[in-house]
């Protein structure tokens, strides 16, 4: 087996806030293979965006990375100095944000915003930069790219704005693309077009994609593998078809039963009782799902435990898996 493109190992991140220390991520580990599309799924507050920001190195100042390693092609990006990290970000790995309207600068033409990235990361001469920006727009299938270069974000529809976001992210041909809820504010019809585009571009270039979303159905349709997060823990990782057909973690199973597209009648829907534990607590249980779980055993509270391999490429962090 070849080494993964990105390997996140035992990542622990805390935030210092006025109301105390928030333990946002604890021992988060997962791999992304070259050319693979993985889905990172979780409720709001599960730490999926913080994971993405940690990989990209764009965390808030209040965040403290307590431990962990983020190996990109074998190099730990957390050990890079600031300058090499800045060169790495945008060139080797880049990110698409959730809301394209707030991610883009409202008072600059979109063409200039794409040109910025190209000028920063490639040795292209000023005269070549514009041509490459037009090519980037063409690549995300924006009609009439020459004219769109001068457009401002408010002149474009939500779907077009997100394509600009993708064009900026892909302008320097990164090996890893992190898409942080790229279609949340968009219509389902536009969502399908954007997701098809991301998948097509990924396979054209052999690029890896981490799709961060709360929509299990969306991830199931586009991802090779799925990582389920709950309250800052990775609870289950498996191939998409294994997760859907045979979830092993109680949280994954409950999540599947709350998805409207999987049931035929409204009374078959099952909500997950309770809510995420308060991550400021010092006495957080070793399993952060324990307080919501109907399969809890006395041993669940007995100290830390590691995620266990339960099948080929299928890991579960649970003492009493299904």
């Amino acid at each position: 087996m070849t080494a993964p493109l990105l390997s996140v190992q035992n990542l622990t991140v805390d935030f210092t806030t006025r109301s105390g220390m928030v333990h946002v991520l604890e021992d988060v580990s997962f791999d992304i293979g070259a050319g693979e599309i993985i889905g990172i799924i979780g409720e709001s507050g599960s730490g999926k965006s913080v994971t993405a920001y940690t990989v990209m190195g764009i965390l808030d100042h209040a965040a403290r990375i307590r431990s962990g390693r983020i190996a990109f092609e074998g190099t730990d990006v957390l050990q890079m100095d600031r300058r090499s990290r800045d060169n790495w970000r945008g060139k080797e790995a880049s990110i698409i944000f959730q809301n394209p309207r707030t991610a883009l600068n409202p008072i600059r033409a979109v063409g200039d915003q794409i040109a910025d990235v190209i000028a920063r990361h490639t040795p292209a001469r000023a005269s070549e930069v514009r041509g490459r920006a037009v090519a980037a727009l063409k690549q995300v299938r924006i009609p009439d790219p020459e004219r769109r270069m001068a457009a401002f974000p408010f002149e474009l529809s939500g779907g077009l704005c997100q394509r600009i976001g993708i064009a900026i992210a892909l302008a320097c041909a990164p090996k890893l693309l992190i898409a942080d809820e790229p279609t949340t504010g968009l219509d389902v019809t536009t969502q399908a077009v954007i997701m098809d585009l991301i998948r097509a571009l990924a396979s054209e270039r052999g690029m890896s994609v981490a799709l961060i979303t709360h929509d299990l159905a969306l991830a199931a349709e586009y991802c090779d593998r799925i990582v389920i997060m709950h309250a800052g823990h990775v609870v289950e990782t498996a191939k998409t078809e294994d997760i859907i057909a045979r979830p092993r973690h109680p949280y994954t199973a409950r999540l599947l039963r709350s998805v409207p597209s999987l049931v035929d009648r409204i009374d078959e829907l099952q909500a997950i009782e309770g809510s995420l534990p308060d991550l400021r607590r010092e006495d957080l249980p070793p399993c952060r799902f324990a307080e919501r779980c109907d399969r809890r055993l006395p041993t669940c509270d007995a100290g830390k435990f590691e995620a266990a391999l339960v099948g080929p490429g299928h890991t579960v962090a649970c003492r009493n898996p299904l």
Binding site: A220, Y222, I244, R254, L262, Q270, A271, S275
Partner: protein, 325 residues
């Protein structure tokens, strides 16, 4: 036969845009363009379509927050569209139609406690009651939506998303409406919480006979909650009928595209219908051309010359397409 709870006939809302040009007609945005709608008591009707199709405007017209440009609205057979929104807001019928808004965070006043948020409509619409009766009403509404009474003294920022959504519903319920108009009430919620809210709405409909007009872009959600679905495209109804029929065999090409775009955990049974291009502009649209032209996969030359009528198909549902049925 009981009369419908709410009936809309030829409802139109045109928004005037910008200053008039010296010699031209003023530009008008046709947000809702001739919509007929009937809601029976205790019925759940789903309204779906993409952003900009006019579904939120229609919801606001139906709940009398906006004055229609033309058309009639009848509530239990009595016209309510001859009053202005301000007059309607002071009438005793305001209580009968209540609205639940999209974003539970932005639609709750951050400086009101949960108790005051729920009590506010009662204080305005049912002022004679006394404080004991008010408290009883607020507590009954909170219990109806499974909101713990201990939360009544809290403020919105101290609540979770699901709790805020329930405050929004309790606030609408507290004046005992006959129709709840819900504008994407679950789009800001996690799936795990969404399930609770959907079941709550279904229970309120069954137990209290409250009719629901449920606006959403998620056909999967609408199909579970609603017995009838109305699909809108650029201000017009393009298909309407029983949920299971529309879901299993959509007849309008737009409905087909909408259904096939929904990601599903089940293997795709039908072929993916992809929509290319952007929708036509809703500003002064052509009256002779089908509004779906330019994106439609089955378009022929005729479609640009004749606007299709909304016609009834042999199985009873309605569709606005030359090729439906």
């Amino acid at each position: 036969m009981t009369p419908p709870l709410l009936q809309a006939i030829g409802l139109q809302k045109h928004f005037a845009l910008g200053p008039k040009r010296p010699f031209g007609k003023p530009l008008k945005l046709h947000a809702v363009d001739g919509v007929d709608l009937t809601i029976a008591p205790g019925e759940a009707v789903g309204l779906v379509g993409e952003s900009g199709c006019g579904k939120s405007t229609l919801a606001r017209l139906v709940s009398r927050l906006l004055d229609p440009t033309s058309g009639e609205l009848l509530l239990e057979g009595r016209e309510i569209s001859n009053q202005t929104t301000a007059e309607f807001a002071r009438s005793d019928r305001r209580r009968m139609i209540q609205m639940v808004f999209q974003d539970p965070t932005e639609s709750l006043n951050p400086r009101f406690s949960v108790f005051d948020l729920i009590a506010d409509p009662v204080r305005t619409l049912m002022p004679r009651g006394g404080s004991a009766a008010l408290r009883a009403r607020v507590e009954a509404a909170a219990e109806a939506v499974n909101l713990p009474l201990a939360l009544l003294d809290r403020f919105p920022h101290q609540l979770s998303g699901g709790q805020k959504a329930r405050v929004g519903i309790a606030r609408a319920l507290v004046v005992e409406p006959r129709l709840l108009v819900l504008d994407e009430p679950t789009s800001a919620l996690d799936v795990s919480v969404q399930a609770t809210v959907l079941q709550l709405l279904d229970r309120l409909r069954r137990e209290r006979g409250i009719a629901l007009l449920f606006v959403s872009h998620d056909l999967n959600v609408v199909r579970l909650l609603c017995s009838r679905i109305i699909v809108m495209y650029l201000g017009q109804v393009v298909e309407s009928g029983p949920s299971d029929q529309i879901y299993s065999a959509p007849s309008h090409p737009y409905t087909k595209a909408l259904l096939s775009a929904i990601p599903s955990l089940r293997p795709q049974l039908r072929e993916r219908v992809k929509l290319e291009g952007d929708p036509q502009s809703p500003i002064s649209p052509s009256t002779t051309r089908c509004r779906f032209c330019g994106r439609c996969p089955v378009e022929v030359a005729e479609c640009s010359q004749h606007m299709p009528e909304l016609r009834t198909l042999p199985d009873g549902r309605q569709a606005r397409c030359h090729f439906a049925g």
